[in-house]
Assembly symmetry: C2
Homo-oligomer: 355 residues x 2
Amino acid sequence: MKIAILPGDGIGPEIVAEAVKVLRALALPLEMETAPVGGAAYEAAGHPLPEATLRLAQQADAVLFGAVGDWKYDTLPRPLRPEQAILGLRKQLGLFANFRPALCYEQLTHASSLKPELVAGLDILIIRELTGDIYFGQPRGRRAAPDGPFAGAEEAFDTMRYSRPEVERIARVAFEAARQRRGKVTSVDKANVLETFQLWKDVVTEVHRDYPDVELDHMYVDNAAMQLVKAPKKFDVIVTGNMFGDILSDEAAMLTGSIGMLPSASLNERGQGLYEPSHGSAPDIAGKGVANPLATILSAAMMLRYSLKQPEAAARIEAAVQRVLAQGLRTADIASPGCTVVGTAQMGDAVVQAL
Amino acid sequence: MKIAILPGDGIGPEIVAEAVKVLRALALPLEMETAPVGGAAYEAAGHPLPEATLRLAQQADAVLFGAVGDWKYDTLPRPLRPEQAILGLRKQLGLFANFRPALCYEQLTHASSLKPELVAGLDILIIRELTGDIYFGQPRGRRAAPDGPFAGAEEAFDTMRYSRPEVERIARVAFEAARQRRGKVTSVDKANVLETFQLWKDVVTEVHRDYPDVELDHMYVDNAAMQLVKAPKKFDVIVTGNMFGDILSDEAAMLTGSIGMLPSASLNERGQGLYEPSHGSAPDIAGKGVANPLATILSAAMMLRYSLKQPEAAARIEAAVQRVLAQGLRTADIASPGCTVVGTAQMGDAVVQAL
Ligand SMILES: CC(C)[C@H](C(=O)O)[C@@H](O)C(=O)O
Ligand SMILES: CC(C)[C@H](C(=O)O)[C@@H](O)C(=O)O
């Protein structure tokens, strides 16, 4: 089983190091190879996603990804910015299905902005389509406005697009996932305004005929942004497009109050996957040894489950994380009175101990 | 001063009736004329925005709008659905600047999903561009995918577009508004992915040179969705495009816990405006006399201030609403122990009394 390790920028290297430590402790036949990505790769090789890094990722069964980005690259031309690496990996590997659980750990309920009764036991799975929509739609660019009230003025434009088979496959992923959970899918669209999302809604409705045991409802994206705040526990699986999923998955993650705990998985049709924490590169705390490695460690668990078919090993890691929380160990981002605050490496060590 | 009254669907007629009651009690020379809009207009005249309604709105100094929409129109072809009325009014009247305050009333802090300390005193102004972006961009439609991995399959598409002058004018509106408030603008974009929002960010940055006294920062939309949950009081004015503004303004409104209290204004370059509550048509409670009319009454106050240049009358209404809250009167949506629950008409009467 071959894993490409792409630590990236900011806190990426620190948190990935802990996840690697945990993976090694499992004593499974895992072959791990590391390569630079993002700003680190730009500095080492002049490009955020060098050819060698992409090849390594393509040949691996799974990619363990840290985080990319730093303010210092903001002035680079867009094709050289760190984010292009993650967009490039998604596209090149065909990682169309992004799984973002928003889970509220019992011991961390207090950390949420929301009143505890609204988030206690929260367990939402957001399934975001990841290779289509306005993220990749052509044409896009700048030009003189060809028509409209500002014809002739400089304008910029992008194209939102979804085809029927793209919506079909992500809808199936969502219905299948719901079957393993509480049996409910909420499809989020903006069919009242967008042609793209009218097709989305039509296709999800059609695919639903194959899953009569799963409950389906449709919600406009603006309403979904509200209902997540008002009554998040009403959701089970949310399925939506790339752009809306970007916004709603971050909103949902923040609702839990512990985004430092949330893993994510991005899968292609062959089960290959990229696994990364839901949080970003946090350049402000990079190198200080205080970042929370648990989201990355839990991403490694998702990797074992989904791409490497090692469900017992995955469950062992998840149980170890639970045990460490129960012991009262916390990194600074999830600290609370009465708990022991530990650094990144100590947290990784504690998970290894608890395995 | 001529006002077009467009009650619309669902609770629209009930709540608008209370706002009209309050306006009449001011004894100002206001000429009010009512016309159907939305589903009601479709039933009366076969179109959600009949010619006569549009003409009335165009000839008025301001439009007081209730709400449109009902599940029962969901199966109509899109051009006949109630939402097309509001989109048509925005476009035809050129209402490019949408003001959506997210305000947390002291007496209603408890109603928020968020912990009270996070929302007490909250006062954000979201300025949403309302006539551009993917809402109106052409081309759009369905076709066989012209290229990409699903070439030939049925696809739907929309076009996101912003021109330089469109971004310039909404940026100026935001900087001017911030000058009357706490002097800070957060421009929300997705410049790391979208060409449209790279131009947006560039233009906002340029316009900022004319407002050196106002602080400007830029935030990605996914991060904004998170920061609104985490620390909403850090925001003063948020300015963003039509699509992101739709999502974030609803999220922010729901954070206050009392969306039934929040008015909105949509203005064009001549100061003509459309005023409507931030909430929707709530068909489930329509006709029961329990809807909260205060958002609509406060929208009438905004109308007096912005389009009719009657700031004293506006302030009188706002003070009356405060007084009614202080008296402990509440509609069901904002009820809490110890308060007196009243219906729609009683609430309107109480505001008139308090004037
Ligand atoms: C970095 C950025 C391009 C990316 C996205 O918008 O998809 C990020 O926000 C994410 O959600 O992984
Ligand atoms: C009804 C709908 C078209 C509209 C929008 O998306 O703009 C509504 O959500 C709003 O925010 O006023």
